[in-house]
Symmetry: C2
Subunit: 251 residues, 2 copies
């Protein structure tokens, strides 16, 4: 009997994502990070820089999942309200954290360490720091919630100080078969049969080339924690495709 894999959710915080000004890439970075650790990412939400909205969504997600990862809203300006919202969600105070204060003082020196930057030393009571090797201002963990920066380069670096805090699950193995010359609808029956025969695996179908002059086809993705079963299913799929005279290669 294998242990149930841990589950996770992501909460993207930022008006700039909802206004269309910014194309978020943090969700994809976190998704790939979690996949490599065998943690199941179940859902993600994007909200604005609004305290009540952050609090409500964070409380829903942290009750439903083993881990929640937030990005955005921990800088020095007035629209950076994530720490305030997280403290409210947990019902705790938001004092200056001595280690965070020391890190920021060292970073900025006396001349540049103004009140705005000092706001970044406020960490919800009970929280522990997440190292930021890029610009020093730390993220933090409180309970099962990991609060990280919104700038992708900083967020990605912070994950290095997050991985060791997570319970890892059995990794999900993925195999891709690239089918060309036919549409998704031509291999749907075959794929449905494969999915029915292998309930422990997931079968995805991702068409490409629609509406273009280029090659049309579909990427079939078989995913599962049992690598041998995934491998066997792919071999079986390849044989079925060959029997129908459909071009397919493993990629």
């Amino acid at each position: 009997m294998t242990q149930t894999p841990p589950t996770a959710a992501v909460l993207i915080i930022g008006d700039e994502v909802l206004s269309g000004r910014t194309q978020d890439t943090n969700l994809n970075t976190i998704a790939r990070f979690l996949a490599a650790l065998g943690v199941d990412l179940i859902e993600a939400r994007t909200v604005g820089d609004r305290k009540a909205q952050i609090v409500d969504n964070l409380n829903a997600l942290r009750a439903a999942h083993d881990y929640v990862f937030t990005t955005g809203g921990i800088g020095p300006t007035h629209d950076d309200i994530t720490a305030d919202a997280v403290a409210s969600a947990f019902g705790v105070a938001l004092p200056e954290h001595p280690d965070a204060l020391a890190i920021l003082e060292r970073r900025y020196g006396a001349g540049e360490f103004n009140a705005a930057r000092r706001r970044m030393a406020r960490i919800p009571e009970g929280g522990t720091l997440i190292a930021n090797p890029v610009t020093d201002a730390p993220g933090f963990q409180i309970g099962n919630v990991f609060v990280m920066a919104g700038v992708p380069k900083i967020m990605t670096a912070m994950l290095e100080d997050v991985a060791h805090r997570l319970r890892h699950g059995a990794v999900v193995h993925a195999r891709t078969v690239r089918v060309t010359g036919v549409g998704e609808g031509d291999i749907a029956d075959l794929l449905t049969a494969a999915a029915r025969a292998n309930r422990e695996l997931s079968f995805g179908s991702y068409p490409f080339g629609a509406g273009t002059e280029g090659e049309v086809g579909t990427n079939l993705v078989v995913r599962g924690r049992d690598e041998a079963a995934a491998e066997a299913a792919v071999e079986s799929l390849m044989a079925d495709l060959a029997a129908e005279g459909i071009a397919a290669v493993r990629v």
Copy 2:
């Protein structure tokens, strides 16, 4: 007295986004589309190809907002369950829609129009079709929910048949000031004062260049439905920055 602008939510459906296999771009496309129409995008959620999860989230979002836009899960394969989930969420049947059937028969011809492709003609009762000029298989609208394809090229094309169905709001105007040579923390006080003096506008601060060899700075974004007020606030900000000897240009 101006009318309250319509609100919207986006529901991204697809295991491939949560597994990290795919970088979603549809949220950003829809966000920019709605901004241009003056519709306020309030939140977005990403869920897997799981019927109960789609139903629960769709019902929460459609009750809370004027419009909901979904992407993904309307193709011909077994993992395309969005139409089934939407029908369940609305408590209606999922019959074949005669117009959808005609479109698909014309597209595929007798030889290629198999049972899997015929699934794409099923539209929740009461739904109207959304045209797909790329690959023909239509999306649909039911109530305040717009169900679109996941392939970005197709999703984008479908928006052409969505715009005329929406109540438009007063457009939000955005102005950006690019500040260089100082960090976000150096202009935080100035920005806070501007935000307090202009409650009807939003002020965002987006640092760039952190952790790189290149130029460091912050983009300040002023947004509001009153264009003259946004313009006046930017002029005031520029004057304040100049008074402190901080380099800033409008971009």
